[in-house]
């Protein structure tokens, strides 16, 4: 009996040690997308203490004068690691931290760049979205992320981008165009376009391999994706999944097909006076092998789309 108890305690301690080791020394690297454009690809998991919340694509673009960080990471810890990776590429100051939207995997690392005194930038509705979710995220993610969360601050943008009024930032011989969207993935999506290499950071407007998560409007998301100007794109960095010059085309197609399929099926159920429960237990299940984390987000997408489509 006593022996079992000791083994139990010992394995708890071991688990604790291993956990802190992986969070401290895990190899965090960035990959080059195009000239001067780097990203770290998030893992296709939900945020945990072990993955330090590094589940979304985050990175930076280097100009002649300074650097812009695009999404800061899913924890303070990831922000720090991204900052270190940035310093391995360049000594130039960080002048901007751009948040593509409010979700924790994209902005919990904001405070790690504070010492550079950057301008934080986001969609005009980002401050309100952050204020509305702050307490909830703080409670949920301090639990989920453990030590990786320590140091996290909710830093609201000091400069915002309005829908229909794109903003151009100059990093020195390099211009970035920031575009704010009407409600799609969220009600405050922002994309970043690097003119020099024709690279588009889509934020979570585009998910590749990992199932898209709807937190805005299914109709808005479909129409914004359909009107996305893809003519001049040499490279794309999606919010989740591999960046590059080719995969995004198939990814965009697959995402549109997913969203349109569930929209059509939900509309039928609503026409037939069906319920959310009926929708979540039938809609789109044939696509479960097309996406990673389907079980975690699909029914939620159906729920969110249902209450929107009820008002058509």
């Amino acid at each position: 009996m006593l022996r079992t108890y000791f083994i139990f305690i010992a394995s708890c301690l071991l688990a604790l040690l291993m956990h802190s080791a992986s969070a401290e020394t895990g190899t965090y690297t960035v990959q080059k997308v195009s000239n001067g454009v780097f990203y770290h690809q998030g893992v296709h998991e939900d945020a945990t203490a072990d993955n330090i919340g590094a589940i979304a694509n985050v990175g930076f673009i280097i100009g002649e004068r300074c650097v812009a960080v695009i999404d800061s990471g899913g924890s303070y810890k990831e922000g720090e690691l991204l900052y270190q990776a940035l310093r391995e590429q360049t000594d130039k100051p960080v002048c901007y931290v751009i948040n593509t939207h409010v979700h924790p995997d994209h902005m919990l690392g904001n405070a790690a760049f504070k010492q550079e005194d950057p301008v934080y930038i986001g969609h005009e509705k980002l401050p309100a979205a952050m204020a509305a979710r702050k307490d909830f995220f703080d409670r949920a993610f301090s639990d989920t992320l453990g030590d990786a969360y320590l140091g996290t601050e909710f830093i609201s943008p000091s400069r915002t981008v309005a829908v229909g009024e794109p903003v151009t930032l100059n990093l020195g011989q390099r211009e970035l165009v920031l575009t704010a969207y009407t409600t799609a993935h969220t009600d405050h999506d922002l994309t970043v376009y690097d003119k020099k290499t024709q690279t588009l950071w889509t934020g979570d407007l585009l998910f590749i391999d990992r199932i898209p998560a709807l937190d805005g409007s299914i109709n808005g998301w479909i129409s914004n994706l359909e009107s996305l100007n893809t003519e001049k794109l040499s490279y794309v960095v999606p919010g989740h999944g591999p960046a590059g010059s080719e995969q995004w085309k198939q990814g965009l197609k697959q995402q549109l097909s997913y969203l349109k399929t569930i929209r059509e099926q939900i509309r039928q159920i609503i026409l037939d006076f069906g319920t959310i429960d009926e929708a979540t237990s039938t809609v789109g299940l044939e696509m479960k092998d097309d996406w990673l984390l389907f079980e975690d987000y699909h029914r939620r997408n159906v729920t969110a789309a249902f209450v929107e489509l009820e008002w058509e």
Binding site: D46, A47, H103, P104, D105, P127, A128, A129, M130, A131, A132, R133, K134, D135, F136, F137, R139, A140, S156, T183, T186, D187, A213, D215, G216, S217, G220, F273, T275, I276, D277, T280, D296, Y297, R299, R300, V302, T303, A304, V307, E308, E310, W311
Partner: protein
């Protein structure tokens, strides 16, 4: 810090309780519930595990924290002599745990009601039926919080505000004398008072639907007294039997004294 500790203890207690085979333990041994019970019902006796009277359906895990469908069915028909006069819905861990009071008429025939709630942390959800003789009967379900980025905040506050007060009464073509399902929805942001308006640097005052009165030929079938636990765009789905041709009417009142209504001929 201390309250955080307490909430962790509470959460582990409730998790522990749910793991026990007897669901009796899930309710009686919880300090939070005993405080809520005293606050809302004083020393009145509540019969637990009233599965012979009520069925409460709620998902095991909230898919979207802002929209959690729950439904309540009675296994006993409503008659003039013996009927459920109220169903109190309590969500232990919500900011305002007392979430709704459905006031029911015996004319409803059967009780089969569903609605949508905000649930953003691990919690017990309780439905307590109060019979016309005053006795109380409870069923409860444990709901896990959703994972990921699901916050109870609205998805598109501007859209919700723009169509505020728009209503729908949705139902299949009814037949007199036959039970029919109907749904009343009203577009309303249902602000909880916890949302912060960064632009104007102040909290958006609570502004929520506090009363929905659903009547048939001017006799109330269901009256819902509600609070901030109801989802944005509150929805009430119910079954009733129109015994003669007439008018189904829904009147919605909110906490800023606005009133919206809609009716449908049957």
């Amino acid at each position: 810090m201390f309250s955080r500790f307490i909430s962790i203890v509470l959460m582990s207690l409730s998790l522990f309780a749910v793991a026990l085979p007897s669901s009796q333990a899930a309710t009686d041994k919880e300090p939070k519930w005993s405080a809520l019970k005293t606050a809302y019902f004083g020393d009145r006796e509540i019969r637990d595990n009233a599965d012979d009277l009520l069925v409460l359906e709620a998902p095991k895990r909230a898919e979207d924290a802002a929209i959690v469908p729950i439904s309540i069915k009675s296994l006993v028909p409503q008659t003039a002599d013996n009927y459920i006069k109220n169903i109190h819905v309590i969500i232990d861990e919500n900011p305002m745990p007392y979430s709704a009071n459905f006031v029911l008429s015996p004319e409803l025939g059967t009780v089969d009601i569903s609605t949508r709630m905000r649930i953003d942390q691990y919690t017990n959800v309780r439905a307590i039926a109060e019979m016309n003789d005053g006795s109380l009967h409870m069923v409860s379900r444990f709901v896990k919080a959703s994972g990921g980025c699901s916050a109870p905040a609205g998805k598109d506050a501007a859209a919700a505000l723009a169509r505020m007060g728009k209503m729908q009464i949705r139902m299949r073509q009814p037949t007199v004398g036959e039970p029919v399902q109907a749904q009343v929805i009203v577009s309303h942001p249902n602000y909880s008072g916890l949302q912060y308006d960064q632009k104007n640097r102040k909290y958006i005052p609570a502004h929520y639907v506090d009363d929905i009165d659903i009547s048939y030929n001017n006799k109330t079938l269901i009256k819902v007294e509600a609070g901030i636990s109801l989802s944005e765009d509150p929805s009430v789905r119910f079954t009733f039997t129109p015994n003669e041709p007439g008018k189904l009417k829904a009147v919605v009142h909110d906490s800023q004294e606005q009133e919206f209504s809609m009716e449908k001929d049957i």
